[in-house]
Symmetry: D2
Subunit: 105 residues, 4 copies
């Protein structure tokens, strides 16, 4: 079992032990990713990156929440995390060729 | 190298080849996670889960974007993806004990 | 008719002419406010406030979209825009008394 | 003074009494609109519209927060609330002509 599969298994065990899969409709999982992303972003509200970065524990927690809901949605939809990342990077590389994109926002 | 480390390496190679790390301040990465989460959620706007789920390719792309920016922020902050997921699940398990949470929203 | 009522009337006329009220479930309106807020925020992605502020036309459009969906949700729920603003400012003033809050983030 | 101008005046008085305008950079105001929109959307997480709609007081508060930050951003950028709403509705009407859009999502 790979490391990603191991994380996925822990996440699924967590929700299955609580019989929570019945609530995890995909629309609500996508909605929950947005809510957790906002809680993460809130750690930088009225702050510079440097100031926000100080909150290590809270950053770990909120970023983990984004990841956990993302993994759940991937699992519900039958997506392989590492595969969709690799595929998207290939698409991005075609959209932003190195020679044209280097050093440009 | 684990699978998560392999995905992280691909993501970092992508941004380093384009000399984009200089733009990747943590506040803007957190902001970008929120924006990509919204693009993912948009696939379910005015739709049921079942209707939204039909858009497989777009779902893969938008979910991958959420993950890619999440991995970049983790890397910037020195967090291990699988570790912060495991730690958060332990905290969630204490907050939501199986016996009290089973089958409840 | 007050100015806010006039804006609300224009918004309601727009959706009624298109027979769109049937789609405007409150959960989807709240979701749409989030999506439009993200499109507004996107104008500041990888930018300073000063850089983002240059995009006057797009800022007007995206901010208007946030407001339009907010007005629709208020109308669906029977809320008076100016009233809920006034009430929330009273609550905020109690939470953040001038003497304790002045000049502090 | 119109009703919208009256709400705007109350909002500006609130932030000026606390000397908070100095913190209200436009990027952070746009970010704050997103955060408040998420808190509003959270009232519908794992719920139907009908279930979410029961939380009248919290809905009023969170929707008011979205509006208050939207008004602040409009004021910072010199936009007239009712004017940008009216202009956007004209654009939307051209994009979605009644005859082609009626009854369609």
């Amino acid at each position: 079992m790979t490391q990603t599969e191991d994380s996925m298994k822990k996440i699924n065990t967590f929700r299955e032990e609580r019989d929570w899969r019945q609530f995890h409709k995909e629309k609500d999982l996508a909605l929950s990713i947005t809510l957790e992303a906002s809680e993460l972003l809130e750690l930088y509200q009225w702050k510079t990156s440097e100031e926000g970065n100080q909150q290590t524990e809270r950053l770990k927690e909120e970023l983990a929440d984004v990841l956990i809901y993302s993994y759940m949605l991937a699992d519900n939809l039958g997506f392989d995390i590492d595969e969709i990342i690799a595929e998207k990077l290939v698409k991005n590389a075609m959209k932003y060729p190195v020679e044209k994109s280097k050093g440009k926002r």
